[in-house]
Symmetry: none
Subunit: 226 residues, 4 copies
DNA sequence: AATGAATGAGAATTCATTCAT
DNA sequence: TATGAATGAATTCTCATTCAT
């Protein structure tokens, strides 16, 4: 369905080299964006010749896409650990928020790459990547929202898919807010200069927001009481 | 503090021409992104010479920034009308959601431009623009959250700024989800192919989500009952 | 039917510059062939920047094609004068041969370009150029062969189109033999080292060949005698 | 006088491999031309490594030249059979024409390679190749033209070498006209769309043309009659 | 003998910006 | 004010050739 994005030569290459090339690519693409990154520079920084780079990748875009996949895997690996646990929904949410905060620094390059594809417009690629990237958290979120509903932990009248979407939107935005310059600034505009240092406050308030969002409104409760 | 982004000549120019130049810029930048848009093409499409373009703007980036400002004003104008009303918080939220849905098509160029700055990394500009752009909604949201709190419409233990941030994050994501290709795809991954057509469902569920988020959790309610 | 091969900017350009660009192109393409000629070098030699070159021509190929058209016009101009005369067929043939010989030196660049398209393989272009180039001489040759037939100057049982084809083949080969290195060598292999200097001999023998070819064979004559 | 165009390793190599390498080279060079053919691709298609290719040949050009030699041998083998016969000149001509027509398809790769050297400009190589390639037919043609003259089959006042040259020019052009795209188009411009299917017509008319060319003109005949 | 990874000079093309008119 | 011709640095990508194994 989707062609591979590197040539066989890259698969045959020494794993250390593969790692270097991808990490260098991620460095450059995340720092400069796709257009401003220079594949010749990436090759040089990775310690290989430009000719070899093109033995590995058909085009600059293919290199970018492989870097992106690498970034996505890494991000999924990190949240994957959290998602696998068997916790109740709010415990899980807390773990996710803390992971986002702790991983913000080391993962910032990955998150920036992810933010980069957000502006993609190429029909086919967009569809493919949205699918590939989003369905992982989609599965996880709808999964445990369904369970939470069954357990009576969240309001029974909610649409799980939309609630998963809102949930992910909040976490995604939070991730960007710890990573990407513009979102960071927006974050401080809303929450003050120190918000980036006060992780506990963010955890506390977001949990508060989610907890009530997921459960019942006062009025619903009242109705139930009757 | 922040230099102007156009030369005096542009301010002196015929308003109709100013409008044409900015709208053409918005067209191109939103369709192609900053890097891929071509200032010579923009000049041609706007019906002025490239020489004149550089009489109006120092650099391509300055043109972009002015287009951005225009886009932002437009977006603010639209939501401004909603924000000025005197409604209760959820009524306001509903109006905002509906506005986002209805304005998605006509405003898509503006939203795309907004999405474009999201990847900016230039220290000074980022700060300036985040301030300029976000503080409008920030003011509005914190304003009516404060009032809602005073009125007892939302839980008294919430931090208004963070709650405003969460609220805006949800609306911003929703706006992108009706406009930008990648976010659109992500939207359908989460909520199904038809979600883009079912505005009512989105309104209903998001209001449900917000209503509870803003108010009390079941447990809080229980505590209060005691 | 066939798009123009230069941009409007080239048509607007100073005629002297147009001439310089085309002649420089013809120089380089005829000396090195299409692939080996370097458009950046052509620009430099023509005294314009490479950027301007690309304001004039979409691609290197378009530049080549315009050079080719120029070369063809020049070649047609030269033989055109001969073809317009009202001479009997062999007088005309003689004039053509002598023109080829005399124009060999000054026209060699044009002939080499013509020889260059001979290896073209691109479906559409080939058809277009063969048409454009060959139909001029085709018209001329079939025209005066028809008249010659009517006048009884050539055998009545010949197919004019094929005879025109043979006639042109001989002249074309001769033209290449005075111009292109390989054909030159072939010429001397067949006719001796000095053939390139002995124009009279070539005229004499080719006329002999054509004269009989066009008229009757001995046997035909015999038949007629009976 | 002329260095060999392959290294000893190639001579020592397995004949089947030699054949594969040369045929693959001929495939690629005839399809794409010298410049556009890629020696790495040729190596891969021939099933050997690029390293080995350079153990066999000093340069891409040497490989090309050996392919060319192979192509020439093949072409000579085919017409050699015809030339060896003991026929009268027009019978021979007919056989040659028919051979060209019949061999057009299977030999097209060889003819294209031959056409390719036509644009060569390298002093030394051109001389060497013209010699090597053309002298075969030269010998044959002058040989049987001399005999024909002795037998009184052709006009006694002709220069055999030039007549051989004209003869070969017609056949060479015909060969290209059945093979190379541009010449094919030229052929149909002159003789109509269907000429490529009507072999008999071509045979008939070219024989007519040659027959008279080789023999006497009407006037000569008249002179002789007196 | 054989491999194929590696090189890097070189070529086509783009586009932000300048400047003479 | 207005034009648009002109610039040339920069970038992507190719491919003949080398060389360590």
């Amino acid at each position: 369905m989707e062609r591979k994005h590197c040539k066989p030569a890259f698969e045959r290459a020494d794993p250390a080299r593969r790692e270097t090339v991808l990490q260098t690519g991620i460095d450059e693409f995340s720092a400069l964006g796709f257009e401003n990154a220079n594949i010749n520079v990436i090759a040089k920084k990775a310690g290989i010749s430009i000719g070899l780079m093109y033995k590995y990748f058909e085009t600059k875009e293919d290199l970018f896409i492989l870097c992106l996949e690498e970034a996505i895997s890494e991000l999924h690996r990190v949240i994957g650990e959290v998602l696998e646990s068997d916790d109740k929904i709010l415990v899980r949410a807390e773990k996710l928020i803390r992971t986002i905060q702790e991983a913000a620094e080391p993962n910032s390059r990955y998150v920036k790459l992810y933010n980069e594809i957000t502006k993609m417009s190429d029909e086919k690629n967009v569809r493919y990547y949205a699918d590939r990237i989003e369905s992982v958290s989609y599965e996880a979120y709808t999964g445990f929202l369904a369970r939470a509903k069954a357990d009576g932990d969240i309001r029974p009248d909610c649409d799980e898919r939309l609630f998963a979407f809102f949930f992910d939107s909040l976490l995604m935005t939070l991730q960007f807010s710890y990573t990407c310059d513009y979102y960071k600034e927006r974050f401080t505009v809303y929450c003050g200069e120190d918000i980036l240092e006060d992780n506990e406050k963010v955890v506390r308030e977001l949990l508060k927001f989610l907890e009530s969002a997921f459960t019942f409104s006062r009025e619903d409760v009242k109705k139930l009481e009757n």
